[in-house]
């Protein structure tokens, strides 16, 4: 079967806002949530129908339902959304190789598990973030650490598929010991995948304002790095490997959907603020960003999309930026096939310029452990290089064609 695109579905609802978050989401509840969820459901239905003629005939290779908090959708709306998504994903008789859904531990109960299994969801991504009460409180997470842990035990007991846990470090109130405990707990419960993120203070997120005003203080560089290293030791000891900057998995438990992002393979996105990306000719992508506004999106899903083309040096750089995050690195050969230029001509000889950060392994540039931790420096260097070299090499590649 020919390669099918992947599908991302954005669910823009949460029970409450976490103070560090800047993803698009709103927090209606009760009847307001019921009716908003309906509207959203009809909108993604319409959007998927519109997309079907161009992409949907062969189904989708992988599906990821993220948010927001997909598990916060009212039961009926969730079941119906999943039926709809399942139907398009399986067009042409395909069975998606992976179907993930994000859930908050507080929402996971037997009923949810049944709904997901019935729909064909294969992988659960559980947003825990921290099992330290102080950090949970300061970041506005629902429920206590003990509650969250209890729910995770339930998932371990009742969820038969693969599951992943999101952990953060660098949150106010976290400690290195806490991170080690967090990692040990989720590993002990049987999570086969851990996403370990550093807190990024996003402009506009309430936490940024709290930090600015001095109400909350951030752990300094060294404490953040200590926390990361504490979690990392636990993961390594348990046999996890770091297959992307922030993602750790046991063998075979990598997230296939996310790997497609890092490889810049084709995917479509429905739901407000979702962004799709499909190849549009050699070395170029068409990027479709849905309105990051529930009302605007629901009024006219397709019409709310702003499209842009990413090509030339921007596309080439993105390819490097994404690929270098993974343990596979950037295949120099496939880069050349994709863009018609040699990566070393475009970005300079990264493995020689940064021998401690990037190694040349067969035909690929692969970031070392330290390289994955400090990837910005070689990337920024590569960006300056391609800006300098681009006109020259792009001209040459046209001539050689």
């Amino acid at each position: 079967m020919a390669a099918a695109p992947s599908l991302y579905v954005h669910v823009p609802f949460c029970a409450s806002r976490c103070s560090y978050c800047d993803f698009y989401s709103s927090t209606p509840s009760g009847p307001a949530l019921e009716s908003a969820a309906r509207l959203w459901l009809e909108a993604i239905r319409e959007h998927l129908e519109r997309l079907e003629p161009s992409f949907g005939r062969d189904g989708f290779e992988t599906v990821y339902v993220g948010g927001g908090t997909p598990s916060w959708l009212p039961g009926d709306a969730l079941a119906e959304a999943l039926r709809l998504i399942g139907r398009v994903a399986r067009s042409g008789g395909r069975e998606p190789s992976e179907w993930s859904l994000e859930a908050n531990p507080e929402d996971v109960d037997e009923r949810l598990v049944d709904t997901l299994l019935e729909a064909g969801v294969t992988r659960l991504s559980v947003g825990v973030q921290s099992l330290e009460d102080a950090a949970r409180r300061l970041s506005g997470r629902r429920g206590s650490a003990a509650d969250a842990l209890g729910r995770l035990e339930g998932i371990a007991a009742h969820w038969p598929g693969r599951w992943s846990v999101d952990l953060m470090f660098g949150l106010p109130g976290q400690s290195a010991e806490g991170l080690a405990d967090d990692a040990r707990s989720v590993i002990g419960l049987g999570a086969g995948h851990v996403s370990l993120y550093e807190l990024t203070l996003e402009e506009g997120a309430p936490m940024s304002r709290a930090v600015e005003s001095g109400a909350v203080s951030m752990p300094d560089d060294d404490r953040r790095a200590d926390q990361y290293e504490a979690a990392r030791s636990e993961l390594l000891a348990a046999g996890f490997s770091r297959y992307e900057v922030s993602n750790w998995a046991l063998d075979g438990q990598e997230c296939a959907h996310n790997l497609r992002y890092w490889n810049l393979d084709d995917w479509l996105a429905v739901g407000p603020s979702g962004v799709g990306n499909v190849s549009s000719g050699p070395g170029a992508f068409r990027r479709a960003a849905n309105a990051a506004d529930l009302e605007a999106y629901c009024a006219d899903p397709q019409g709310s999309v702003s499209e842009s083309t990413v090509d030339g040096k921007d596309a080439a750089f993105e390819c490097l930026m994404m690929a270098m995050r993974t343990s596979r690195g950037l295949s120099l050969e496939s880069f050349e096939r994709r863009f018609g230029i040699r990566a070393v001509d475009a970005f300079g000889r990264l493995h020689e310029r940064f021998p401690e950060l990037v190694r040349l392994d067969g035909d690929a540039w692969i970031a070392t452990d330290r390289g994955l931790d400090t990837l910005n420096e070689p990337l920024v260097y590569a960006m300056s290089e391609i800006e300098r070299s681009w006109d020259d090499i792009a001209g040459r590649s046209v001539v050689s064609v």
Binding site: Y8, T200, D222, A269, S273, V275, T374, L375, N376, V380
Partner: protein, 606 residues
């Protein structure tokens, strides 16, 4: 031609922030020179920086027509003076162009240090002084107290003081009438040989230098050959005119007039503020008194962030110089920063203004080195005197017999409550108290003699924070006195960085070195390797800090939805790199160089 008897030349003098420029705006508005809708705040402040900071840097003039209650039309020439102590010579020249001065006192602040020094200056020039109390609309206004202070501190008649609100325009009619009634008309003779005072000049890219003058005697007309007496240079006058809301051509200027002339002069540096203009054919024997060559008191080097931009910076400096005669500079060369310029400034404000204009008007990314005063060294062999203002020129200490540094007389007026703190501040700055005068039961005037170098960095800010903004400050340079001087070297990974070196008072060197190291550390981004920052005098290290290698520098997450945004984030970082300076293999930010500029903002916060 107008009647000299109905001309009034006056300036407004005040402590900084007492509302000089706002009052000037009201005058212009009243004279209907400019439509209210087109009125920008502080019309006479031409530079963005002047408007933004609310500080007048250059003297400006404007000619207004006013029909007084006696039914006659008067010509009022208003000369707006700079409001900062850095520019006190310019103020003195503006004052000497006038017969009268409005002495503006803020009703919420009362008489402050500059109020006093400006008044003395006006008295020295025999000006008729009109005390005016401003900001009477403010809730904190205390008009009676202001009157008392005018009485007591200034020896003027407080009861005669007019009350205005420059902001609201109240009390202006009385003020106009008072100017007409009390400021004497000019006394010169039209028939006498030309004698005019240059009180300012500015550069116009199309017309060259426009010289601002007050004519005391004789007349100046287009076609006439004139001589600038100090420079001993002759020019032919091309145009004369008045300052309205722009330049308005006239057939000439005569005794008593304030206006401008254009004479094919190429740069403002060919024109000295305070010089006398006379006729080449019939020159006066003596120039007008009071001329002084303006000498910089603060020196610093300016380098382009990117050494490749030196030529661009050079062009920018040349353009800036066209309009700023007090800026002096020469080519300079640093091992760390390449080619740049050693510059002299009238004071720290002047330095900051030049820095901001280079960055904003000329779009230059620059680095400035630590400001320095000019030191006098006596050498051991032969007793030669060497003058240095640049750490790079500091000779082998074993050859130095002695050093001297410039001292100022600082005058501080403060409410009693802050005396203790202010005296401590001044003593910490090596000040010696020379005077203590009770102005009234609540306020005192303190005078200190202290090294100029000590007030360069943060003295003014500290004075303000120590006194909750109530103390005011003025100073003049008095003389040179013996000092203990040392050159503080800063080493990064064991290599001295010449652009970070500075000349310091030896007994404070240790503390200063420690602070500079700390601030450098805070200003630096972590890099792939460990960085040692050291301060040294001669060969010995007196302070040290370490910047540990970066441990994490990567975008935490990057998924399908934010690729474009993440690419842009890296683009921003890349742009940031352009503002980094490689010193050896260490990247320094612009802030790193600024770290040695500002002494200790942190101390104030502590």
């Amino acid at each position: 031609m107008h009647d000299i008897a109905r001309t009034r030349n006056f300036c407004i003098i005040a402590h900084i922030d007492h509302g000089k420029s706002t009052l000037a705006d009201r005058f212009i508005e009243r004279a209907k020179l400019v439509d209210r809708r087109k009125m920008q705040q502080q019309m006479l402040d031409n530079m963005d920086i002047e408007r933004e900071r609310g500080i007048t840097i250059k003297s400006q003039a404007v000619t207004l027509s006013y029909v007084a209650r006696d039914g006659l039309e008067y010509t009022l020439n208003l000369v707006d003076t700079p409001g900062h102590v850095d520019f006190s010579y310019e103020v003195s020249r503006a004052i000497s162009s006038c017969e009268g001065a409005i002495l503006l006192v803020d009703a919420t602040q009362g008489v402050e240090a500059q109020t006093l020094s400006n008044m003395y200056m006006a008295v020295e020039h025999d000006l008729e002084i009109l005390p005016v109390i401003n900001k009477i609309d403010m809730p904190a206004a205390d008009v009676d107290e202001a009157r008392r202070q005018i009485d007591r501190d200034l020896g003027l008649d407080g009861d005669e003081a007019l009350c205005v609100s420059a902001k609201l325009g109240t009390g202006l009619d009385e003020l106009f009438e008072a100017i007409v009634a009390r400021v004497p008309s000019p006394s010169g003779s039209r028939e006498a040989p030309l004698r005019a005072l240059i009180f300012d000049s500015h550069y116009d890219p199309y017309r060259g230098v426009i010289v601002h003058i007050r004519v005391f005697d004789g007349s100046i007309v287009p076609g006439m050959a004139i001589r600038l007496m100090y420079n001993d240079a002759e020019y032919e006058v091309e145009e004369t005119g008045l300052f309205k809301m722009g330049l308005v051509k006239t057939d000439g200027l005569v005794a008593g007039d304030v206006g401008y002339f254009i004479a094919g002069i190429k740069t403002v540096s060919d024109v000295r503020v305070g010089d006398t203009v006379t006729g080449a054919a019939d020159p006066v024997a003596e120039p007008l008194p009071g001329f002084r060559e303006v000498k910089p008191v603060v020196y610093s080097s300016i380098y382009p962030m990117d050494t490749a931009d030196y030529d661009e910076l050079k062009v920018a400096m040349e353009k800036l110089k066209l309009n700023d005669a007090s800026l002096i500079y020469e080519k300079d060369n640093s091992a760390a920063l390449g080619f740049g310029f050693r510059c002299g400034f009238l004071g720290m404000l002047h330095l900051e203004v030049v820095q901001e204009r280079l960055e904003r008007e000329y779009d230059q990314a620059i680095i400035m080195t630590a400001p320095s005063v000019r030191y006098r060294l006596t050498m051991s062999h032969g007793g030669d005197t060497v003058i240095i203002d640049n750490p790079a020129d500091y000779p082998d200490p074993s050859r130095i017999d002695g050093a001297e540094e410039p001292y100022i007389k600082a005058q501080i007026i403060t409410p009693l409550a802050y005396i203790g703190n202010l005296i401590t501040l001044c003593i910490n700055k090596r000040g010696a108290q020379t005077g203590f005068t009770h102005l009234d039961e609540k306020r005192v005037e303190l005078t200190f003699e202290m090294p100029l170098a000590e007030v360069l960095f943060d003295f003014y800010d500290k004075l303000k924070s120590t006194s909750r903004g109530y103390a005011s400050f003025d100073y003049e340079i008095i003389d040179y006195r013996p000092t203990e001087l040392a050159k503080l070297d800063i080493l990064i990974n064991s290599k001295p960085v010449d652009a970070l070196a500075q000349l310091v008072y030896r007994p404070s060197a240790q503390e200063r070195g420690r602070k500079v190291c700390e601030r450098l550390k805070d200003s630096m981004d972590r890099q792939q390797f460990k960085i040692a920052i050291q301060a040294a005098i001669g060969g010995s290290i007196i302070a040290r800090e370490t910047v540990n290698p970066v441990r994490k520098d990567v975008l935490a997450k990057c998924y399908g939805g934010d690729i474009t945004r993440k690419r842009k984030l890296l683009e921003k970082q890349k742009e940031g790199k352009k503002r980094m300076k490689m010193v050896g293999d260490v990247e320094l930010t612009q802030e790193s160089f600024m770290a040695v500029l500002r002494e200790n903002e942190d101390d104030d916060r502590r």
